[in-house]
Subunit: 351 residues, 3 copies
């Protein structure tokens, strides 16, 4: 009856269904400036047109996570407005750099559904693809969310669970074509360490911490057109589970990525997101720290310019992370940990 959208419930989804998301969005130099102000990201190719052109790109591309957030945000009103929880990501693959002036749109396909035994919720699996204005895919990822059922809704006929990749493999990674780092002065990127200098098992404390202000995460999340209510409405959340607004998980990912510049200065491009766990919520006033571990180092097929590093970046709140907190000996998660992200970056090889 009412024309306003109160969000889809579990039984409103159908396996195989395609959801064309509103609203396509032109991303501009203004979005990139705001992204810089929100996180202080300083990775070289995204910061300066001249540096980007020195290495063979037409201009400075947008930060990869800005692209991720915009595509993700489009899917929220159709997928997760009634989500009880964002359960996971997998198989995130960055396929094309995005430049100021490009218009991003997103489509999701429902690839799996499973009702929970409590009869009140279910899990919906989707594959989301973001495209630019000429139809090229720029990003693809899988995610799954726990969604409420309507009261009294019946049982779904048969569950279907998709077969999701544990991790993207190096041969699947897509690097921008024809880069040449020979003209890039190391001092300009801020990093003296190249792909060969990192090895599996190495851990890096990113040292710095960033305190989240309510205005900041709200500005960020609206910039991404992400309309999930828990981020914006203190009046309603005062009655909610935590008594306060919850920071969009992607905001924490972007903070951790920006902090990781200190020690990973040449990790220029995000190539894939293998998986991520938001193990605890973050709130306005929390201070986020991050550390990273190199999980794997892999050359890129046929590329002498770039190599790939698989990283785990862990963010914790309100504690320094020089001791690399994650799990104790019994596998119990450190209560300060808010993010455990598994992803691939591309880094120039030694000149």
């Amino acid at each position: 009856m009412s024309k306003s959208n109160k969000g889809r419930f579990f039984e409103d989804f159908t396996i195989g269904e395609t959801l064309v998301h509103a609203t396509p969005r032109t991303v501009s130099e203004g979005d990139q400036a705001l992204y810089t102000a929100l996180y202080g990201a300083r990775f070289a190719p995204q910061a300066a047109d001249s540096l980007a052109q020195d290495i063979g790109l037409p201009a400075a591309p947008l930060d990869d996570l800005l692209v991720f957030h915009v595509i993700f945000g489009k899917s929220v009103p159709d997928i997760s407005l009634n989500a009880v929880a964002n359960l996971g990501y997998a198989g995130g693959l960055f396929l094309q750099p995005v430049f100021p002036g490009d218009t991003l749109s997103a489509v999701s396909e429902v690839i799996g559904m499973k009702e929970n035994s409590n009869g009140k919720t279910g899990v919906v699996y989707v594959e989301t693809v973001g495209r630019n204005q000429v139809g090229e895919a720029v990003l693809r990822f899988y995610r799954w969310v726990m969604v409420k059922k309507r009261e009294g809704a019946g049982a779904l006929a048969e569950p279907k669970l998709p077969d999701l990749p544990k991790a993207v493999t190096p041969d699947q990674l897509v690097a921008p074509l024809d880069l040449d780092f020979s003209a890039l002065e190391p001092a300009l990127s801020g990093g003296a360490h190249f792909w060969e200098d990192y090895s599996a098992g190495e851990r890096i404390d990113h040292v710095d911490g960033t305190t989240i202000e309510e205005a900041e995460h709200q500005l960020a999340t609206r910039l991404y057109h992400n309309s999930a209510r828990v981020h914006f409405n203190q009046h309603a959340e005062a009655q909610g589970r935590f008594g306060k607004r919850i920071v969009y998980g992607g905001h924490i990912i972007s903070i951790a990525r920006a902090l990781s510049f200190n020690g990973l200065e040449n990790a220029f491009f995000l190539a894939a997101i293998n998986g991520g766990r938001h193990s605890a919520p973050s709130f306005g006033g929390d201070t986020i720290y991050a550390w990273s571990e190199v999980l794997e180092s892999a050359p890129l097929p046929d590329r002498k310019d770039l190599g790939a590093l698989r990283l785990r970046t862990v963010a914790a709140k309100n504690r320094a992370v020089g001791d690399f907190p994650l799990e104790d000996e019994e596998g119990k998660l450190d209560p300060a940990v808010v993010l455990d992200l598994d992803y691939w970056v591309l880094m120039p090889r030694q000149p």
Copy 2:
């Protein structure tokens, strides 16, 4: 003596006087990105160049309210720096879309003055016109403000009250020329409802709520070059009427408009502002909700692409609005209501 501007008093205005406002301002993609971050507006033509071009516009225009705020802001130092109250608007008419790169300037004419019987204040009526860099009018509106008199200032000779329109009539509305919505996929605008689907008397709860942070309304109001002191100076306002900074009324209008996307997704263009009442102040920390009523539906002369809807959008603070709060049976305003806005939007007709 001092070169700084302490604002005009009632007796500094003259009927018929023209005030050329400082400072013209080029509006850019950066302004639009900030506007998106501040309100999360998701109306399709303003969000994506590709969608705008699909319907016949040269590019995504700026949000109409961003244009309004910039023009309004220019008039503040000359008109309302000493205003006791912004009493009302009338006859607001959007005349041209504004695009990134345009430069906006504003001129006001004093069209009426009336001293109040207390001898301490008076009401000044102005017509303000905003123009782009080639001199085309992009927006015109009337407003009236209560302004202080200097202490001991004498009485004004004769009051003059302008004849202001109760509402803009549909034949006065200006629609962008030659639009064609046939290529616009409804899923991309987020709205399945078109002009014919709305009828007078229909009410829509826009469901969501937005909590205002001090940093947000300050950023917004400075972006508009609006220098009214009550919005920025906690040290002075601590001694003021409310003990705290007052949020610019236009910030509430933009929040309400952005919330109204949920249920009015295809209300693409603001065509006119018939009137508005800021019935109570809003402050940092308040959560704004909104609902709308369709007051009137009118075809546009000679246009088969768009129709006009006259809307009343009501914003309330710190209460959900599913019960459409406004006035009780005795006409007493609900104390939570902060805005009652009467305006025309243009919406595509059914394809």
Copy 3:
């Protein structure tokens, strides 16, 4: 061992050494929009392309202080990450206007060092030069910072103190070429006062006050790529000297400059920074006021369009400044004063 940067200590600097700073940064219309939102700056040439072109510039240049902050920010990771205090500036000279699309980079030379008698800290003097993408110098300044020594570090052989200018002289000032203000309507810049209207000794109360929000100074400081920890990390600063984050001193300078519009509307260009003293820290929640004194008025050699004014702008917190607070009769600084800035501006001469 660790790859992350914990900052340079005193003994890591060498006199004569050149430090090429990361990361060059393309400044855009997005940065300018954010700068406007952060400070509300309304000086005419920077606000409107049309006005800039009327006076002979190719487009609206970026605010001079935005350029200063970006160049300064680049030097922070190499110079002042372990700074105990930013002790001073001298000889700041703006050499070229910067436009949206330009890429700024920065290089510093260590020109002096002196160990403190406590054996724990030392003072490092640098000359920093900012350049655009074609290598033209756009800004040069000297600054000196107190930096920690490592525990147990030995004494430095011989101190060297540079000979720094007390002030830039008028003949050193660089004005944009070939400006013509004859087409500039005074009402559009907001100022009826020109260079000849100001004389040495004149004081101006800028009247207005601006309250700083934590989100605002964090957004600003990250926008400038300034990574000094004290500005962002409440968790660490809770244990620090003040128990809270310290606002970047440059944020106060930009607030004071924006406030100075009220009374100095035609002070279009910053030409030089002779020196500056941040006499007390500012924090989120503080309200900043400013007043200015004309120290000197000087014609520009061979220029009939512009004259130079040497100004002292003083900012104070949480008190109005109509009584021009600075020092008492015994030379004791007013405890509310947070900034005492000595600089040159360029202002159009009477038409």
